[in-house]
């Protein structure tokens, strides 16, 4: 056999073997590790993935508690003329060690408070100020009609505004890997004319665990 034919045959055999090797794993049955089926959870109850930080059940619990407390406070919910309040995450800060979307707390509080108050408070959407101004301008320029509720001199101002803070205190045992965290969420309604605090609420809890849960 000439040397060139021998080399050609060897290359061909090599390719066949190589391709065969490549094809092998793809044609064999896939060995999947058993996964977990999707489950629907009650947002008011701790789920299977839980750590030491603020979780869904804490948010539902704290906003429900604050809402009910606000509605039982005469300075806010017992006035002859319903106060105009601003409840958003603008002045809700997060100084804790946990990454968290502050709006998830402020939005739930505002929506549930608005639904439950039934006119005992009037909610000013300061987040929508730009959108509202755009429409007001169009109405006054005559590009759109005045709608059905009439024109006002200005947008609504706030009597009270929510401010709050999320803070935490962490401690860790390097021997066991155990982590303990004290979480504190404070809520205050501030009089926007005088600067006084007319209502305060606090939600706090401490948890300890050695699990490697990541909040993100």
């Amino acid at each position: 056999m000439p040397i060139q034919t021998l080399i050609r045959n060897c290359v061909a055999i090599g390719l066949v073997v190589g391709l065969g090797a490549c094809n092998g794993p793809m044609t064999s049955p896939t060995q999947n590790v058993a996964g977990s089926a999707t489950v629907n959870l009650d947002p008011n109850t701790r789920g299977p993935v839980a750590g030491v930080g603020i979780e869904g059940q804490d948010i539902t619990s704290m906003t429900d508690q604050m809402m009910r407390d606000m509605l039982g406070t005469p300075q806010l919910a017992g006035r002859a003329v319903p106060p105009q309040v601003i409840v958003d995450g603008e002045y809700f800060s997060n100084e804790s060690s946990q990454r968290i979307n502050r709006n998830i707390i402020a939005d739930r509080l505002r929506i549930n408070l608005n639904r439950a108050s039934q006119g005992r408070m009037v909610f000013v959407s300061r987040q929508s100020a730009g959108m509202v101004q755009q429409e007001r301008d169009l109405k006054r320029q005559g590009q759109v009609d005045t709608g059905t509720v009439g024109l006002t001199k200005a947008q609504a101002g706030g009597d009270f505004r929510l401010r709050g803070n999320i803070a935490s205190l962490d401690s860790r045992d390097p021997r066991t890997g155990m982590i303990q965290r004290y979480n504190q969420v404070t809520f205050e309604m501030v009089d926007l004319e005088r600067g006084t605090i007319v209502w305060s609420g606090i939600y706090e809890f401490a948890r300890a665990a050695a699990d490697d849960i990541i909040y993100r």
């Binding site: 008011n44 701790r46 619990s61 429900d64 508690q65 009910r68 509605l71 039982g72 439950a116």
Partner: protein, 170 residues
């Protein structure tokens, strides 16, 4: 025995007596016969199955399928704490804004700390829910001691009854 030690002994015996009295009071609260506990919800499917076999497809509540749940009371719905926690009192009143405030005193009858969670359903005169049930709220109960569960309604006009549920804290 000096005057000082006599005085000390008197103080100790007074403290012991007071402690014994308090302990007796707590234990007295733990005797099930002294606290009326509402019956647990019991479901009997027999009338339902009989009706299904008779050919009924759509039906309303059938008499005898459920025991009546008393209103304005606290129900321990979790068997894990059924023989650990007792309800000493439950009361309700109007707040200054007209909402209804419910308060219940709970006793931890065990020698170790317990956590319970409570929620309240506020009902109108026709037993309709006037608002969604409150979120579960945690109460810490030290060993052989009292804790307080408290909740407020959001409605000011329609609340006529309430029912409180207790489960073990997770």
């Amino acid at each position: 025995m000096t005057d000082k030690s006599r005085s000390m002994n008197r103080k100790v015996s007074k403290t012991t007596a007071l402690g014994a009295l308090m302990g007796a009071a707590v234990l007295a609260g733990c005797v099930p016969t002294q606290v009326t506990r509402p019956p647990d919800v019991a479901c009997d499917f027999t009338p339902y199955l009989t009706a299904v076999q008779a050919g009924q497809v759509i039906m309303g509540p059938l008499p005898g399928t459920m025991t009546a749940v008393p209103l304005n009371s606290v129900r321990v719905i979790d068997p894990r704490i059924a023989n650990k926690v007792l309800v000493q009192s439950v009361a309700a009143r109007r707040t200054e804004t007209g909402t209804v405030e419910v308060q219940s005193r709970l006793i931890n009858c065990t020698d170790f700390p317990l956590q319970v969670q409570g929620r309240t359903m506020f009902l109108d005169t026709a037993n309709f829910n006037v608002e969604p049930p409150s979120a579960w709220q945690r109460v810490f109960l030290p060993p052989r001691s009292f804790g307080q569960y408290q909740e407020k309604s959001t409605d000011i006009r329609r609340v006529a009854n309430f029912t409180v549920e207790l489960r073990e804290g997770d």
